[in-house]
Assembly symmetry: C2
Homo-oligomer: 278 residues x 2
Protein backbone atom coordinates (compact mmCIF):
# COMPACT_ATOMS: atom_id res chain seq x y z
CA UNK A 1 0.00 0.00 0.00
CA UNK A 2 1.69 3.17 -1.23
CA UNK A 3 -0.98 5.79 -1.61
CA UNK A 4 -4.17 6.52 0.32
CA UNK A 5 -6.91 8.92 -0.73
CA UNK A 6 -8.99 10.15 2.18
CA UNK A 7 -12.29 11.56 1.00
CA UNK A 8 -13.70 13.80 3.74
CA UNK A 9 -10.97 15.03 6.04
CA UNK A 10 -12.97 15.67 9.19
CA UNK A 11 -12.66 14.04 12.60
CA UNK A 12 -12.70 10.45 11.31
CA UNK A 13 -10.79 10.98 8.07
CA UNK A 14 -8.20 13.15 9.82
CA UNK A 15 -7.83 10.68 12.68
CA UNK A 16 -7.41 7.83 10.20
CA UNK A 17 -4.62 9.79 8.46
CA UNK A 18 -2.85 10.49 11.78
CA UNK A 19 -3.29 6.90 12.93
CA UNK A 20 -1.89 5.58 9.63
CA UNK A 21 1.22 7.75 10.02
CA UNK A 22 1.58 6.86 13.67
CA UNK A 23 1.42 3.15 12.70
CA UNK A 24 4.39 3.65 10.36
CA UNK A 25 2.73 4.18 6.98
CA UNK A 26 5.31 5.97 4.84
CA UNK A 27 3.34 6.35 1.61
CA UNK A 28 1.38 9.30 0.35
CA UNK A 29 -1.80 10.54 2.04
CA UNK A 30 -3.94 12.67 -0.26
CA UNK A 31 -6.96 14.53 1.05
CA UNK A 32 -10.16 15.21 -0.90
CA UNK A 33 -12.39 17.61 0.98
CA UNK A 34 -13.92 21.08 1.11
CA UNK A 35 -11.57 24.06 0.99
CA UNK A 36 -11.76 24.91 4.71
CA UNK A 37 -11.23 21.27 5.72
CA UNK A 38 -8.26 20.93 3.36
CA UNK A 39 -6.66 24.15 4.61
CA UNK A 40 -7.01 22.98 8.22
CA UNK A 41 -5.71 19.47 7.44
CA UNK A 42 -2.69 20.83 5.55
CA UNK A 43 -1.87 23.31 8.33
CA UNK A 44 -2.00 20.51 10.90
CA UNK A 45 0.13 18.19 8.69
CA UNK A 46 -2.67 15.64 8.67
CA UNK A 47 -2.44 15.08 4.90
CA UNK A 48 0.50 15.40 2.49
CA UNK A 49 -1.45 17.07 -0.28
CA UNK A 50 -4.92 17.82 -1.54
CA UNK A 51 -6.45 16.90 -4.88
CA UNK A 52 -9.92 16.82 -6.40
CA UNK A 53 -11.59 13.39 -6.43
CA UNK A 54 -10.79 12.70 -10.09
CA UNK A 55 -7.07 13.30 -9.51
CA UNK A 56 -6.72 11.63 -6.11
CA UNK A 57 -8.58 8.36 -6.71
CA UNK A 58 -6.65 7.10 -9.80
CA UNK A 59 -3.41 7.21 -7.76
CA UNK A 60 -4.77 5.46 -4.67
CA UNK A 61 -4.35 1.88 -3.45
CA UNK A 62 -6.84 2.64 -0.71
CA UNK A 63 -9.78 5.01 -1.10
CA UNK A 64 -11.14 5.87 2.37
CA UNK A 65 -14.59 7.50 2.35
CA UNK A 66 -15.04 9.40 5.62
CA UNK A 67 -17.80 11.82 4.71
CA UNK A 68 -21.33 11.98 6.15
CA UNK A 69 -23.43 9.07 4.84
CA UNK A 70 -25.32 11.07 2.20
CA UNK A 71 -22.06 12.37 0.77
CA UNK A 72 -20.57 8.88 0.72
CA UNK A 73 -23.58 7.72 -1.32
CA UNK A 74 -22.94 10.60 -3.74
CA UNK A 75 -19.22 9.88 -4.01
CA UNK A 76 -19.84 6.20 -4.75
CA UNK A 77 -21.65 7.24 -7.94
CA UNK A 78 -18.47 8.91 -9.22
CA UNK A 79 -15.79 6.35 -8.40
CA UNK A 80 -16.27 3.67 -11.09
CA UNK A 81 -14.37 5.44 -13.92
CA UNK A 82 -11.62 6.60 -11.53
CA UNK A 83 -10.52 3.61 -9.46
CA UNK A 84 -7.55 1.33 -10.14
CA UNK A 85 -8.57 -2.34 -10.48
CA UNK A 86 -6.27 -3.38 -7.63
CA UNK A 87 -7.51 -0.65 -5.27
CA UNK A 88 -9.76 -1.12 -2.24
CA UNK A 89 -12.57 1.33 -1.61
CA UNK A 90 -13.80 1.37 1.98
CA UNK A 91 -15.89 3.77 4.05
CA UNK A 92 -16.44 4.85 7.65
CA UNK A 93 -20.18 5.49 7.49
CA UNK A 94 -22.30 4.91 10.60
CA UNK A 95 -24.93 2.84 8.80
CA UNK A 96 -24.06 0.12 6.33
CA UNK A 97 -27.01 -1.24 4.31
CA UNK A 98 -27.54 1.84 2.14
CA UNK A 99 -23.82 2.28 1.49
CA UNK A 100 -23.11 -1.39 0.79
CA UNK A 101 -25.99 -1.73 -1.65
CA UNK A 102 -25.08 1.51 -3.44
CA UNK A 103 -21.46 0.35 -3.71
CA UNK A 104 -22.63 -2.98 -5.12
CA UNK A 105 -24.67 -1.18 -7.77
CA UNK A 106 -22.10 1.42 -8.77
CA UNK A 107 -18.62 0.02 -8.27
CA UNK A 108 -17.58 -2.95 -10.39
CA UNK A 109 -13.98 -2.26 -11.38
CA UNK A 110 -12.45 -2.73 -7.93
CA UNK A 111 -13.27 -4.17 -4.53
CA UNK A 112 -15.50 -2.39 -2.01
CA UNK A 113 -15.46 -3.27 1.69
CA UNK A 114 -17.88 -1.52 4.04
CA UNK A 115 -16.47 -0.37 7.35
CA UNK A 116 -17.49 1.45 10.53
CA UNK A 117 -15.05 2.42 13.24
CA UNK A 118 -16.93 2.74 16.54
CA UNK A 119 -15.01 5.82 17.51
CA UNK A 120 -15.93 9.44 17.64
CA UNK A 121 -16.31 12.58 19.62
CA UNK A 122 -19.08 15.11 19.92
CA UNK A 123 -16.76 17.59 18.16
CA UNK A 124 -16.36 17.55 14.37
CA UNK A 125 -13.52 18.56 12.10
CA UNK A 126 -9.88 17.73 11.50
CA UNK A 127 -8.78 20.02 14.34
CA UNK A 128 -10.13 17.39 16.76
CA UNK A 129 -8.39 14.53 14.89
CA UNK A 130 -6.50 12.10 17.11
CA UNK A 131 -4.07 9.33 16.12
CA UNK A 132 -5.42 7.23 19.01
CA UNK A 133 -9.12 7.66 18.20
CA UNK A 134 -9.49 4.03 17.05
CA UNK A 135 -7.31 2.46 19.74
CA UNK A 136 -9.15 -0.23 21.71
CA UNK A 137 -12.35 0.38 19.72
CA UNK A 138 -14.35 -2.02 17.54
CA UNK A 139 -13.87 -1.54 13.78
CA UNK A 140 -16.76 -3.19 11.95
CA UNK A 141 -16.27 -4.66 8.48
CA UNK A 142 -19.23 -5.83 6.40
CA UNK A 143 -17.92 -8.06 3.60
CA UNK A 144 -20.56 -9.42 1.21
CA UNK A 145 -18.73 -12.78 1.32
CA UNK A 146 -16.09 -14.01 3.79
CA UNK A 147 -13.65 -14.31 0.86
CA UNK A 148 -13.78 -10.52 0.50
CA UNK A 149 -11.45 -10.31 3.51
CA UNK A 150 -8.81 -12.54 1.83
CA UNK A 151 -7.94 -10.45 -1.21
CA UNK A 152 -4.51 -8.76 -1.12
CA UNK A 153 -6.08 -5.28 -0.88
CA UNK A 154 -8.38 -6.32 1.98
CA UNK A 155 -5.56 -8.13 3.79
CA UNK A 156 -3.47 -4.93 3.65
CA UNK A 157 -6.39 -2.94 5.05
CA UNK A 158 -6.97 -5.47 7.85
CA UNK A 159 -3.33 -5.02 8.80
CA UNK A 160 -3.88 -1.26 8.98
CA UNK A 161 -6.86 -1.77 11.30
CA UNK A 162 -4.71 -3.92 13.58
CA UNK A 163 -1.84 -1.43 13.45
CA UNK A 164 -4.00 1.53 14.47
CA UNK A 165 -5.06 -0.41 17.57
CA UNK A 166 -8.66 -1.19 16.62
CA UNK A 167 -10.17 -4.67 16.80
CA UNK A 168 -12.00 -5.99 13.82
CA UNK A 169 -15.65 -7.09 14.11
CA UNK A 170 -17.12 -8.81 11.04
CA UNK A 171 -20.88 -8.41 10.58
CA UNK A 172 -23.47 -8.45 7.83
CA UNK A 173 -24.60 -4.94 6.86
CA UNK A 174 -28.14 -5.62 8.08
CA UNK A 175 -26.92 -7.09 11.37
CA UNK A 176 -24.63 -4.08 11.83
CA UNK A 177 -27.50 -1.63 11.39
CA UNK A 178 -29.66 -3.51 13.88
CA UNK A 179 -26.92 -3.66 16.51
CA UNK A 180 -25.90 0.01 16.21
CA UNK A 181 -29.54 1.12 16.46
CA UNK A 182 -29.23 0.00 20.10
CA UNK A 183 -25.57 0.74 20.79
CA UNK A 184 -25.29 4.10 19.07
CA UNK A 185 -28.50 5.54 17.65
CA UNK A 186 -30.79 5.10 20.67
CA UNK A 187 -28.09 6.42 23.06
CA UNK A 188 -27.85 9.53 20.86
CA UNK A 189 -31.62 10.06 20.84
CA UNK A 190 -31.83 9.26 24.57
CA UNK A 191 -29.30 11.99 25.26
CA UNK A 192 -30.91 14.49 22.89
CA UNK A 193 -34.37 13.78 24.36
CA UNK A 194 -33.04 14.18 27.90
CA UNK A 195 -31.46 17.57 27.25
CA UNK A 196 -34.48 18.74 25.22
CA UNK A 197 -36.98 17.57 27.89
CA UNK A 198 -35.10 19.37 30.65
CA UNK A 199 -34.73 22.50 28.51
CA UNK A 200 -38.48 22.47 27.95
CA UNK A 201 -39.84 21.41 31.35
CA UNK A 202 -37.23 22.34 33.95
CA UNK A 203 -34.44 24.53 32.56
CA UNK A 204 -33.49 25.69 36.09
CA UNK A 205 -32.31 22.13 36.73
CA UNK A 206 -28.99 23.36 35.35
CA UNK A 207 -28.47 24.90 38.81
CA UNK A 208 -28.27 21.41 40.29
CA UNK A 209 -26.40 19.61 37.52
CA UNK A 210 -24.03 16.90 38.74
CA UNK A 211 -21.54 14.73 36.88
CA UNK A 212 -24.23 12.21 35.90
CA UNK A 213 -26.15 14.81 33.92
CA UNK A 214 -22.97 15.87 32.14
CA UNK A 215 -22.26 12.24 31.12
CA UNK A 216 -25.78 11.58 29.92
CA UNK A 217 -26.02 14.83 27.91
CA UNK A 218 -22.60 14.71 26.25
CA UNK A 219 -24.01 13.09 23.09
CA UNK A 220 -26.66 15.83 22.97
CA UNK A 221 -23.85 18.15 21.81
CA UNK A 222 -23.65 16.18 18.55
CA UNK A 223 -24.36 17.85 15.24
CA UNK A 224 -27.70 17.12 13.56
CA UNK A 225 -25.97 17.23 10.16
CA UNK A 226 -24.47 13.79 10.74
CA UNK A 227 -27.58 12.38 12.36
CA UNK A 228 -30.00 13.33 9.61
CA UNK A 229 -28.31 10.79 7.33
CA UNK A 230 -28.00 8.14 10.01
CA UNK A 231 -31.69 8.39 10.87
CA UNK A 232 -32.71 8.47 7.20
CA UNK A 233 -30.76 5.29 6.40
CA UNK A 234 -31.74 3.27 9.51
CA UNK A 235 -35.24 4.53 10.31
CA UNK A 236 -37.02 1.24 10.92
CA UNK A 237 -34.35 -0.23 13.18
CA UNK A 238 -34.17 3.03 15.15
CA UNK A 239 -37.97 3.11 15.56
CA UNK A 240 -37.96 -0.45 16.87
CA UNK A 241 -35.06 0.13 19.26
CA UNK A 242 -36.57 3.41 20.52
CA UNK A 243 -39.83 1.57 21.15
CA UNK A 244 -38.01 -1.04 23.24
CA UNK A 245 -36.30 1.77 25.18
CA UNK A 246 -39.55 3.67 25.77
CA UNK A 247 -41.27 0.48 26.96
CA UNK A 248 -38.45 -0.10 29.43
CA UNK A 249 -38.79 3.45 30.77
CA UNK A 250 -42.56 2.97 31.13
CA UNK A 251 -41.91 -0.27 33.00
CA UNK A 252 -39.53 1.51 35.39
CA UNK A 253 -42.07 4.29 35.92
CA UNK A 254 -44.76 1.76 36.79
CA UNK A 255 -42.42 -0.09 39.13
CA UNK A 256 -40.74 2.72 41.03
CA UNK A 257 -41.87 1.25 44.33
CA UNK A 258 -41.67 -2.46 43.54
CA UNK A 259 -38.89 -5.04 43.62
CA UNK A 260 -38.91 -5.09 39.80
CA UNK A 261 -36.94 -1.83 39.91
CA UNK A 262 -34.19 -3.60 41.82
CA UNK A 263 -34.07 -6.35 39.19
CA UNK A 264 -33.79 -3.80 36.39
CA UNK A 265 -30.95 -2.03 38.22
CA UNK A 266 -29.17 -5.37 38.59
CA UNK A 267 -29.64 -6.30 34.91
CA UNK A 268 -28.48 -2.85 33.80
CA UNK A 269 -25.43 -2.77 36.08
CA UNK A 270 -24.38 -6.23 34.92
CA UNK A 271 -24.66 -5.23 31.26
CA UNK A 272 -22.87 -1.91 31.89
CA UNK A 273 -20.00 -3.88 33.47
CA UNK A 274 -19.93 -6.24 30.46
CA UNK A 275 -19.59 -3.21 28.17
CA UNK A 276 -16.53 -2.23 30.19
CA UNK A 277 -15.03 -5.68 29.81
CA UNK A 278 -15.38 -6.64 33.47
Amino acid sequence: MNSVAIVGVGLIGGSFALALRSAGFSGKIVGVSSHPAIREALELNIIDSAEPLDKAVPQADLVYLAQPIGRILDTLHHLEPLVRPDALVTDAGSTKQAIVSTARATLRSCQFLGGHPLAGKEIRGAAAADADLFRGRPYVLTPAHPDDLRTPAAAAFLEVIRNIGAHRVVLGAEEHDRLVAFSSHVPQLASTALAAAIAEHSPESSRVAGPGLLDTTRLALSSYDLWRDIVATNTVEIEDALTAYIQKLEYLRENLRTRQLQEEFATAAKYARTLRGS
Copy 2:
Protein backbone atom coordinates in the same frame (compact mmCIF):
# COMPACT_ATOMS: atom_id res chain seq x y z
CA MET B 1 -15.48 24.81 64.45
CA ASN B 2 -13.31 22.34 66.33
CA SER B 3 -14.91 18.96 65.99
CA VAL B 4 -16.86 17.31 63.17
CA ALA B 5 -18.82 14.08 63.43
CA ILE B 6 -19.31 12.39 60.08
CA VAL B 7 -22.14 9.86 60.23
CA GLY B 8 -21.75 7.45 57.32
CA VAL B 9 -18.17 7.36 56.11
CA GLY B 10 -18.72 6.27 52.50
CA LEU B 11 -17.90 8.10 49.28
CA ILE B 12 -19.56 11.39 50.28
CA GLY B 13 -18.73 11.36 53.99
CA GLY B 14 -15.16 10.28 53.29
CA SER B 15 -14.73 12.88 50.57
CA PHE B 16 -16.13 15.56 52.89
CA ALA B 17 -13.55 14.58 55.53
CA LEU B 18 -10.68 14.69 53.01
CA ALA B 19 -11.91 17.99 51.56
CA LEU B 20 -12.16 19.52 55.06
CA ARG B 21 -8.57 18.55 55.81
CA SER B 22 -7.39 19.70 52.43
CA ALA B 23 -9.07 23.09 53.09
CA GLY B 24 -7.03 23.48 56.27
CA PHE B 25 -9.40 22.23 58.97
CA SER B 26 -7.19 21.28 61.92
CA GLY B 27 -9.85 20.09 64.38
CA LYS B 28 -11.01 16.57 65.10
CA ILE B 29 -12.86 14.43 62.55
CA VAL B 30 -14.78 11.59 64.16
CA GLY B 31 -16.42 8.88 62.06
CA VAL B 32 -19.64 7.06 62.90
CA SER B 33 -20.20 4.15 60.57
CA SER B 34 -20.33 0.39 60.15
CA HIS B 35 -17.28 -1.63 61.20
CA PRO B 36 -15.98 -2.28 57.67
CA ALA B 37 -16.42 1.39 56.66
CA ILE B 38 -14.66 2.58 59.83
CA ARG B 39 -11.78 0.17 59.35
CA GLU B 40 -11.31 1.34 55.76
CA ALA B 41 -11.59 5.04 56.71
CA LEU B 42 -9.06 4.68 59.54
CA GLU B 43 -6.61 2.78 57.32
CA LEU B 44 -6.85 5.51 54.69
CA ASN B 45 -6.46 8.28 57.34
CA ILE B 46 -9.80 9.74 56.30
CA ILE B 47 -10.99 10.11 59.92
CA ASP B 48 -9.06 10.67 63.15
CA SER B 49 -11.10 8.29 65.25
CA ALA B 50 -14.33 6.34 65.36
CA GLU B 51 -17.06 6.50 67.97
CA PRO B 52 -20.65 5.31 68.27
CA LEU B 53 -23.28 7.97 67.58
CA ASP B 54 -23.99 8.69 71.27
CA LYS B 55 -20.31 9.40 71.94
CA ALA B 56 -19.46 11.30 68.75
CA VAL B 57 -22.41 13.70 68.51
CA PRO B 58 -22.12 15.35 71.99
CA GLN B 59 -18.55 16.46 71.11
CA ALA B 60 -19.35 17.84 67.65
CA ASP B 61 -19.80 21.41 66.43
CA LEU B 62 -20.87 20.01 63.08
CA VAL B 63 -22.80 16.76 62.62
CA TYR B 64 -22.60 15.71 58.96
CA LEU B 65 -25.10 12.99 57.98
CA ALA B 66 -23.82 11.25 54.85
CA GLN B 67 -25.76 7.99 54.97
CA PRO B 68 -28.35 6.74 52.47
CA ILE B 69 -31.61 8.69 52.89
CA GLY B 70 -33.45 6.02 54.88
CA ARG B 71 -30.57 5.82 57.36
CA ILE B 72 -30.46 9.61 57.68
CA LEU B 73 -34.16 9.55 58.58
CA ASP B 74 -33.41 6.92 61.24
CA THR B 75 -30.45 8.83 62.64
CA LEU B 76 -32.48 12.04 62.93
CA HIS B 77 -34.75 10.26 65.42
CA HIS B 78 -31.78 9.69 67.75
CA LEU B 79 -30.01 13.05 67.69
CA GLU B 80 -32.20 15.26 69.92
CA PRO B 81 -30.84 14.08 73.30
CA LEU B 82 -27.24 14.04 72.00
CA VAL B 83 -26.61 17.35 70.22
CA ARG B 84 -24.96 20.44 71.66
CA PRO B 85 -27.21 23.54 71.47
CA ASP B 86 -24.61 25.47 69.44
CA ALA B 87 -24.03 22.60 66.97
CA LEU B 88 -25.21 22.47 63.38
CA VAL B 89 -26.67 19.26 62.00
CA THR B 90 -26.60 19.00 58.23
CA ASP B 91 -26.97 16.17 55.73
CA ALA B 92 -25.93 15.19 52.23
CA GLY B 93 -29.09 13.31 51.22
CA SER B 94 -30.13 13.31 47.56
CA THR B 95 -33.75 14.26 48.29
CA LYS B 96 -34.69 16.97 50.75
CA GLN B 97 -38.40 17.14 51.63
CA ALA B 98 -38.54 13.93 53.69
CA ILE B 99 -35.32 14.74 55.52
CA VAL B 100 -36.13 18.39 56.20
CA SER B 101 -39.59 17.59 57.55
CA THR B 102 -38.27 14.76 59.73
CA ALA B 103 -35.55 17.04 61.08
CA ARG B 104 -38.16 19.71 61.85
CA ALA B 105 -40.22 17.16 63.79
CA THR B 106 -37.38 15.53 65.72
CA LEU B 107 -34.61 18.05 66.29
CA ARG B 108 -35.37 21.07 68.44
CA SER B 109 -32.27 21.60 70.57
CA CYS B 110 -29.96 22.74 67.78
CA GLN B 111 -30.09 24.02 64.22
CA PHE B 112 -30.65 21.75 61.23
CA LEU B 113 -29.73 22.80 57.70
CA GLY B 114 -30.53 20.47 54.80
CA GLY B 115 -27.82 20.05 52.19
CA HIS B 116 -27.09 18.19 48.97
CA PRO B 117 -23.73 18.25 47.24
CA LEU B 118 -24.22 17.51 43.53
CA ALA B 119 -21.17 15.32 43.41
CA GLY B 120 -20.73 11.62 43.20
CA LYS B 121 -19.37 8.66 41.40
CA GLU B 122 -20.86 5.36 40.37
CA ILE B 123 -18.55 3.71 42.94
CA ARG B 124 -19.42 3.64 46.62
CA GLY B 125 -17.30 3.54 49.74
CA ALA B 126 -14.55 5.51 51.44
CA ALA B 127 -11.89 3.90 49.24
CA ALA B 128 -13.20 6.06 46.37
CA ALA B 129 -13.22 9.22 48.53
CA ASP B 130 -11.66 12.26 46.90
CA ALA B 131 -10.76 15.63 48.45
CA ASP B 132 -11.74 17.32 45.16
CA LEU B 133 -15.11 15.61 44.77
CA PHE B 134 -17.04 18.83 45.51
CA ARG B 135 -14.79 21.20 43.58
CA GLY B 136 -16.68 23.22 40.98
CA ARG B 137 -19.94 21.46 41.88
CA PRO B 138 -23.22 22.91 43.16
CA TYR B 139 -23.84 22.41 46.89
CA VAL B 140 -27.54 22.87 47.59
CA LEU B 141 -28.73 24.22 50.95
CA THR B 142 -32.41 24.19 51.88
CA PRO B 143 -32.91 26.57 54.82
CA ALA B 144 -36.48 26.83 56.17
CA HIS B 145 -35.94 30.60 56.46
CA PRO B 146 -33.22 32.81 54.89
CA ASP B 147 -32.09 33.74 58.43
CA ASP B 148 -31.06 30.11 58.95
CA LEU B 149 -27.97 30.86 56.86
CA ARG B 150 -26.89 33.75 59.16
CA THR B 151 -26.40 31.91 62.45
CA PRO B 152 -22.77 31.48 63.57
CA ALA B 153 -22.93 27.71 63.02
CA ALA B 154 -24.39 28.08 59.51
CA ALA B 155 -21.92 30.81 58.62
CA ALA B 156 -19.06 28.51 59.60
CA PHE B 157 -20.51 25.74 57.45
CA LEU B 158 -20.97 28.08 54.47
CA GLU B 159 -17.29 28.92 54.77
CA VAL B 160 -16.47 25.22 54.65
CA ILE B 161 -18.52 24.83 51.46
CA ARG B 162 -16.61 27.70 49.88
CA ASN B 163 -13.27 26.33 51.07
CA ILE B 164 -13.86 22.88 49.58
CA GLY B 165 -14.46 24.53 46.20
CA ALA B 166 -18.22 24.00 45.90
CA HIS B 167 -20.65 26.76 45.02
CA ARG B 168 -23.69 27.23 47.19
CA VAL B 169 -27.20 27.04 45.68
CA VAL B 170 -30.06 27.97 48.01
CA LEU B 171 -33.40 26.30 47.27
CA GLY B 172 -36.60 25.30 49.02
CA ALA B 173 -36.72 21.57 49.78
CA GLU B 174 -39.69 21.08 47.45
CA GLU B 175 -38.03 23.08 44.65
CA HIS B 176 -34.84 21.03 45.12
CA ASP B 177 -36.69 17.76 44.77
CA ARG B 178 -38.44 18.93 41.61
CA LEU B 179 -35.21 20.14 39.99
CA VAL B 180 -33.17 17.02 40.80
CA ALA B 181 -35.93 14.76 39.47
CA PHE B 182 -34.87 16.13 36.07
CA SER B 183 -31.16 16.72 36.63
CA SER B 184 -30.32 13.55 38.54
CA HIS B 185 -33.14 11.02 38.94
CA VAL B 186 -34.34 10.85 35.33
CA PRO B 187 -30.72 10.66 34.00
CA GLN B 188 -30.17 7.68 36.34
CA LEU B 189 -33.33 5.90 35.18
CA ALA B 190 -32.59 6.81 31.54
CA SER B 191 -29.20 5.14 31.86
CA THR B 192 -30.55 2.11 33.73
CA ALA B 193 -33.36 1.70 31.18
CA LEU B 194 -30.92 1.98 28.29
CA ALA B 195 -28.59 -0.72 29.60
CA ALA B 196 -31.51 -2.95 30.63
CA ALA B 197 -33.25 -2.55 27.24
CA ILE B 198 -30.09 -3.44 25.33
CA ALA B 199 -29.40 -6.38 27.65
CA GLU B 200 -32.91 -7.66 26.97
CA HIS B 201 -33.37 -6.91 23.26
CA SER B 202 -29.91 -6.75 21.70
CA PRO B 203 -27.14 -7.94 24.02
CA GLU B 204 -24.77 -8.51 21.07
CA SER B 205 -24.72 -4.73 20.64
CA SER B 206 -21.81 -4.83 23.08
CA ARG B 207 -19.71 -5.91 20.07
CA VAL B 208 -20.24 -2.47 18.53
CA ALA B 209 -20.08 -0.32 21.65
CA GLY B 210 -18.53 3.09 21.10
CA PRO B 211 -17.65 5.87 23.54
CA GLY B 212 -21.19 7.27 23.45
CA LEU B 213 -22.66 4.05 24.86
CA LEU B 214 -20.06 4.04 27.63
CA ASP B 215 -20.99 7.62 28.62
CA THR B 216 -24.72 6.98 28.57
CA THR B 217 -24.48 3.73 30.58
CA ARG B 218 -22.03 4.90 33.25
CA LEU B 219 -24.85 5.76 35.67
CA ALA B 220 -26.29 2.28 35.10
CA LEU B 221 -23.41 1.00 37.23
CA SER B 222 -24.96 2.72 40.27
CA SER B 223 -26.09 0.72 43.25
CA TYR B 224 -29.83 0.18 43.73
CA ASP B 225 -29.37 0.46 47.50
CA LEU B 226 -29.02 4.22 47.24
CA TRP B 227 -31.72 4.60 44.61
CA ARG B 228 -34.43 2.73 46.49
CA ASP B 229 -34.53 5.55 49.07
CA ILE B 230 -34.30 8.32 46.46
CA VAL B 231 -37.18 6.88 44.48
CA ALA B 232 -39.24 6.25 47.62
CA THR B 233 -38.86 9.85 48.81
CA ASN B 234 -39.41 11.61 45.46
CA THR B 235 -41.81 9.27 43.65
CA VAL B 236 -44.31 11.80 42.30
CA GLU B 237 -41.71 14.21 40.94
CA ILE B 238 -39.82 11.34 39.33
CA GLU B 239 -43.00 9.98 37.72
CA ASP B 240 -43.78 13.40 36.28
CA ALA B 241 -40.25 13.99 35.00
CA LEU B 242 -40.08 10.46 33.51
CA THR B 243 -43.37 11.12 31.74
CA ALA B 244 -41.97 14.31 30.21
CA TYR B 245 -38.88 12.36 29.10
CA ILE B 246 -40.93 9.52 27.60
CA GLN B 247 -43.13 11.99 25.74
CA LYS B 248 -40.04 13.64 24.28
CA LEU B 249 -38.71 10.26 23.11
CA GLU B 250 -42.08 9.46 21.52
CA TYR B 251 -42.01 12.82 19.78
CA LEU B 252 -38.53 12.10 18.39
CA ARG B 253 -39.66 8.65 17.24
CA GLU B 254 -42.60 10.17 15.40
CA ASN B 255 -40.42 12.84 13.83
CA LEU B 256 -37.36 10.87 12.75
CA ARG B 257 -37.78 12.05 9.18
CA THR B 258 -39.13 15.57 9.76
CA ARG B 259 -37.53 18.94 10.43
CA GLN B 260 -38.78 18.75 14.02
CA LEU B 261 -35.90 16.38 14.75
CA GLN B 262 -33.45 19.08 13.72
CA GLU B 263 -35.12 21.55 16.09
CA GLU B 264 -34.93 19.10 18.97
CA PHE B 265 -31.23 18.49 18.28
CA ALA B 266 -30.66 22.26 18.31
CA THR B 267 -32.58 22.76 21.58
CA ALA B 268 -30.76 19.85 23.19
CA ALA B 269 -27.29 20.94 22.02
CA LYS B 270 -27.91 24.47 23.26
CA TYR B 271 -28.99 23.24 26.68
CA ALA B 272 -26.09 20.75 26.87
CA ARG B 273 -23.71 23.66 26.19
CA THR B 274 -25.42 25.73 28.91
CA LEU B 275 -24.83 22.88 31.36
CA ARG B 276 -21.13 23.11 30.51
CA GLY B 277 -21.10 26.83 31.13
CA SER B 278 -20.58 27.81 27.51
